[in-house]
Amino acid sequence: MRRTLFYKSLFIVGVVIVCLVAVTGIPKGLGWQSWKTSIAGNIHLGLDLQGGSYLILKVNVDEAVAAETNQAQQRLQAALASKGVPYTSIRQPDPVHLPAVIDVQGIPPTRSGEFNAVVEDPTVVGPNYNVRSTSNGNYELVLNSATASQIKDRALTQSIETIGNRVNELGVTEPTVQQHGLGDYEILVELPGVTDPDRVKQIMQETAQLQFRLGEGGPFASEAQARAQYGGVLPEDSQILPGRNIGGTSSSSSATDWYVVSRSSVVSGQDLRDAQPTTDNNGQMEVSFNLTRAAGQRFGDFTAANINKPLAIVLDNQIQEYANIQGRIEDSGRITGTFSRQQASDLALILRSGALPASISYLQDEEVGPSLGADSIHAGIIAALTGFLLVAGFMLFYYHGAGINAVLALVLNLVILMAYMSLVSATLTLPGIAGIILTIGMAVDSNVLIFERIREEMRHGKSVPAAVDIGFRQAFITILDTHVTTVVSAIFLFLFGTGPIKGFAVTLTVGLIANLFTAVFVSRVIFDYVLLRQQGIRGAKLSIG
């Protein structure tokens, strides 16, 4: 008996040491400061305690599908034109609601064979589209749903990657960017400790479609004027885009001028190898970029063939720069504009991280400022300490000596809980602190059950050791039952809840499981020790109030 008790106590002491080390780490020094930083380093604080942003974004994947269909449409137009097959119109009737549909009108029935051949050609449209003849000479091409799904999934993965890149570049510590939920193309972003969330969201959200296109005319003071130059009808492969602050028709620097540019781009954002903010000779901020070798070759040929024609640098369908090509440009260049230092730096960052394949909308956006976080920690710790003192105080008052037993078990319970959080790098949230407080209340529940039973047995005349034995045995089943029910509801909470609620479920569950160990095993060992010291004394007593 003595020996087993000794081993049991050794085990408990071992557990205590392991837990303490898990919580505090190996402190660098012995001062109070270094202990505090050690502990702080091991406990991972949630967003509601350290401040930060929690965002749920939706990737508008239909835009990616529409973009792909748009490209197919352009290829079809070019192919039909080169084969001399006439048509009335080829367009996307509703790119917003029917992104996968291309509508073809006016193919002469005699040329339908050629049309079908062109459509089936995988370099033009290919087998991913289902062709349907709607009436004589009119067809409808629809992207099949399997391919559409692929495009959507790819858009989601690419968005996650791009946003992840941007967030990392911003130097956010331990950000989270991952898919949220299943099948709805939603992204969860967590940015702890971010102090300028608007800037971060701005950067995340920019689609940053960079394109270099051949300019065809401008500047014009209005869209109508631009159209008038072409007799009111723009050619199929041209587009009118606005540009600001690039000095055109009006002397005011904030006017919008309009330019006509080609629809197709010779070089686009994915061809960038690098982008950096730089200053020009006058101290003006600009963004200089490098192209990949292949793109550089393409660009070189293009610029050599188009000297003295204008080049338009288009960013998100806004003209950033419109200037004449002076000579062959191979693989590097600059984007100028009226950038502040911050703007140039941000633009370079966005270009470096790649373009978003589709725009994103915000479904949920929560920001907790650090001052509120600090307050919450403060309040949480005080509430926890008060709760602990109240409960411990009562146990000592009502159960006297056995109360010490209960308090020790409670302290060990909390230490194990903190150790678990630290080892698993679990996140401590404000509801998590509430879970700890609730654990304090419920942990002594087990002790009360046991102590009450022991008292009852002693009142019925049982000897102290027998009473202790029966008390622990009878109470154990009930303790198990009550713990199981609370843990089961905590599991449902964990499954259903969001971040902070999950934190609550975790601290409650782990606290209760640890309680099974401390209230039953550890308390028993302590009782056994107390009884051991009384062995042989007749009429052994137990201080249990």
Partner: protein, 405 residues
Amino acid sequence: MEFFRDTDIDFLGKKWYFLTVTMVLFVVGMVALAIHHGPDMGIDFTGGTQMDVKFSRPVPSEQIRSGLKNANLGDFSLQPIAPGPNEVLISAPLTATSQADLNRNREEIVSVLYQVTGGAPPQGKLDINAVGPETFTNWLLQKDPDGYMGLGAQAATQRYSTIADALIKQRRDVQYGGTFPSFDALSAAPGDAQIAKLAAQDFFLGPFTVRSTQSIGPQVGSELRDQALRAVLYSLGAMLIYIAFRFELIYGIAAVVAVFHDVLITLGVFSLARLPIDLTVVAAFLTLVGYSMNDTIVVFDRVRENLPIMRRDKLSVVVNKSINQTLSRTVLTSGLTFLSVLSLLVLGGEALRGFSFAMTFGILVGTYSSIAVAAPMMVAYIESRNRRLPSAKSSKPIPAAARRA
């Protein structure tokens, strides 16, 4: 020291009193719910914007209210947040059903706040109460008040960012709670009267700071609502199965009815106290489902233990004795848990207010319902079942576990 030594209270005999009390609570709760058109669902479930705003000087809430009303923000609510007089919680549920730009609501609220506190921010100046450490460090590098630029850009950046961090930490601390009331507060840092003076030129004192915001789109809100409901129902179902398995089906049903009763009454009280129901409150309800089962199980456990011993007594006598025997334990543990969540309610801060209120009240009701609802219901059902089958040998059901014992 023992509070409840050998009590012998006839709990089951008083079941009509208990029923009356329950009915009263029920009716009061339902009336409150009816008046307020259902439970007050927080932003988490309706979608919308919620902002925790702290002003550097107290602003009368009437002004804020009329400002918000003019901005056409729909059915907004304005609640002061303890302890300070300067902090309010503004909630504006989404009025649009479409995926409107979540930022717009926020910008509108912010512009109303500027109006109410004396005008729009001056152009070209930054808000000293909103500036982040990066921006502030850059500003310090530009102004170079301590001449660190002479040591080289890197050393200067290091020193200035330490100063910036310290100042911003100070602003964040409980003393200021996020807003410097004046530029003099900046000179509290070592040797930085210079900084305070220079800052007064380039920054303005934001009259308020937004300590937290939540913007939730309608889609997310309704998804959460469904999930919450499902979680509660599944939880109750799991409890039912567990108890039916450990005891007998009627025990399980009685326990679930008791918990259901607790949840409904707590909902009613929430409505009475005009407290919104957010995610953490639902979490509290789920916890209560588990916790309320505890007391019920303790009583049922004792009943199961006593049945074989007290074969000759009526079921109601057995149950009464069981309740009396476990009274000490029930009151004590509920009391202790109640103490700990009470400290959370009083000291735990605003963010957990709904949660701690639900837990505190729920524990009280849960304990009450184990004695006043679950036990009587179980006894009533079994006794009426026995009356209908007079030929049954044993007049009491012995739960499976006890039979095997």
